[in-house]
Amino acid sequence: MADLATTHDAAPAARARKLKARDLKAMPGFKAIAWACIVALYLPLIVLIVFSFNDNRSVVKWTEFSLRWYQAALENEGIRNAAWVSVKVALVATILSTIAATMAALATTRAAAFKGQGLAYAIINQPLMIPEIVTAIATLSLFSLVKYVTGITGIGYLMAAHTAFCIPFAFMPIRARLEDMTLTLEQAGADLYATPLQAFRYITLPLLMPGIVAGAMLAFVVSLDDVIITLMVAGPGETTLPIYILGAIRRGITPEINAVSTILVGVSVLLVALLFLVQRRMEK
């Protein structure tokens, strides 16, 4: 009896020791690598942000704190126009791509299995696999052809291109969420007299909302950030913020660019924080 008791007590202690030894945090160099990663990721951003508040033309020599570059940026017609184009395109692309991604996610998880389902999945994710420069050139060729044939011009092309490459980003979190949701809830709805439309409206959609919000925010950030495709597709007067910054840098980095970039970082951080909050609230 006593023997039994001791072996019983000894086993968990030994196991705990083993587990501790296997814990990643206990590996030599863990802290150093972690810090190296953090520095590599955030040091450039910190430098950028710090010098956006520098009261001097230089972006390497600190003099004193000032907001003059923010003021300059906000008063700059070019920057204001570019920001407005960026937001317009990102909003339209976000809405359209999120709707398309939601429908695609529903079709690949909720519809009865159909022929070519795996292929559909691959097609939706295509923009993630093909180099962006190839997509950009392909899009440009197609749009040139369409413009030549129809004679229609405008910002619609840019919006369409952004919508297309935003779809897989919106699709991923929505599909992940749908796969986590058991079909039983929708069946319970049907069992309680909900028509397919009502089951979608009252059960699937509310439960899917965190995924949709996450997908939309991801799409928004990706659209806001795009350079290569935009560079190819954007017509005159359709300069987005990243393209403007790229152009300005050719004339030399100024603290004004730092200020605009800092605002962009701020918007991204705000969106991610908002996303985090929304998800936390919805999961409660």
Binding site: Q187, A194, T195
Partner: protein
């Protein structure tokens, strides 16, 4: 004369048929369900016929994988049969989608809507049926009282215990007053004490509401205590349908006898029979009188079933029907279970409820067994 007799017989049958049809809530005919095709085909249901009557507590009982859930899902409308028909109140509902069937389900996993409160969960069915807000509120209050969860109305479902979630699922399914309530192993996830309480609650709820309950379980004790009638299933087939006493006392099938409670099954052959009574010679030479149930062929080699409580130790001056060597004694307070080995090598368990002082209970002692008359039965 013969013709007349036949006509009377047909008339009575028609009358009985009409009677049955009026009372039947769910009726399935030649129901077949096969998942997959070719060598991967799973025959979940093979030609099932079943009639479930109105206001009945009907239980589908069988081991895991025998097709209980499949049959239930077909009644609910989540699964289309490969062939066969299902009727509800005499109307063919085989192809009707779930939301058009006046049938509600209590899911094994409860499937409560996590984004709604307890009250919203319970009111969901009524809302989908387009009832007015006032009606829904009133009915939800009634249901909350019925399952004793008045204080929980505005809680979220993940703030409830397992037993409370179970009751919400029950209230939600009962709120729209379905014709038939389907329950798929609803008590399986509860601990023993709660399960016993819920068994009683469910039974009284059924009596109170008068709704037909179709209850699925693999627990034979649960089935026996709760049901009006039980269908015992094995591998996609229904072996026997009957009241708990029928199933327990008068099993027609060896599997049914074995599945429900303890039972001794002995091999033998019929030496003579008269009506539904047969004399069966066992392998160790003893001849025992046994009942032959309807529909069982009582000739040739047969299996004989004897419940432990239909046997006891023979008194000193009694002639024993059987005898065996004692292997083990298990005391259970009021009674003892004695495990004996018969001359044929077969094991025999008997339940002796009297005093044991007069017997030699050392392992290996030879004891006589007395049988209650009429309790031994021939099985299919």
């Amino acid at each position: 004369m013969e013709n007349d007799g036949e006509r009377v017989a047909t008339q009575t049958m028609e009358k009985a048929g009409a009677e049955n049809r009026r009372n039947v809530a769910i009726s399935a005919r030649s129901l077949v369900k096969t998942f997959g095709t070719g060598e991967f085909a799973v025959h979940a249901l093979k030609d099932v016929d079943i009639d479930i009557r109105e206001n009945e507590f009907f239980t589908l009982l069988g081991p895991s994988g025998c097709g209980k859930t499949t049959l239930l899902r077909m009644i609910a409308g989540f699964e289309l049969p490969t062939s066969g028909i299902i009727q509800l109140d005499g109307q063919d509902i085989t192809a009707l989608p779930p939301h058009k069937r006046p049938v509600n389900t209590v899911f094994q996993s409860y499937a409560l809507f996590p984004h709604m409160t307890v009250a919203e969960n319970i009111g969901f069915g009524l809302k989908m049926l387009g009832r007015s807000g006032g009606d829904i509120d009133k009915r939800v209050k009634r249901m909350l009282a019925l399952v004793q969860l008045e204080a929980m109305a505005n809680r979220r479902t993940d703030q409830l215990s397992g037993g409370q979630q179970q009751r919400v699922a029950l209230a939600r399914a009962l709120a729209p007053e379905p014709k038939v309530l389907l329950l798929d192993e609803p008590l399986a996830a509860l601990d023993l004490k709660l399960r016993k309480n819920m068994q009683i609650e469910l039974k009284s709820l059924q009596a109170e509401t008068g709704i037909t309950f179709v209850f699925v379980t693999h627990d034979q004790e649960e089935a026996l205590t709760m049901s009006d009638r039980i269908a015992v299933m094995r591998a996609g087939e229904i072996l026997q349908i009957g009241a708990p006493t029928d199933i327990y006392e008068r099993p027609t099938h060896r599997f049914v006898a074995d599945f429900i409670g303890d039972i001794n099954i002995l091999e033998g052959s019929v030496v003579s029979s008269e009506g539904r009574t047969a004399q069966v010679r066992l392998k160790d030479g003893a001849v025992i009188e046994a009942r032959v149930p309807e529909g069982v062929d009582g000739s040739g080699d047969v299996a004989l079933a004897i419940r432990p409580e239909a046997a006891r130790l023979a008194g000193p001056d009694e002639t024993a029907a059987l005898s065996g060597t004692l292997e083990n004694v298990v005391y259970f307070g009021a009674a003892s279970y004695l495990h004996l080995r018969l001359g044929s090598g077969e094991e025999f368990v008997l339940r002796h409820s009297g005093a044991l002082d007069a017997y030699d209970l050392s392992t290996g002692s030879v004891l006589g067994i007395a049988l209650q008359p009429g309790r031994a039965r021939v099985l299919e």
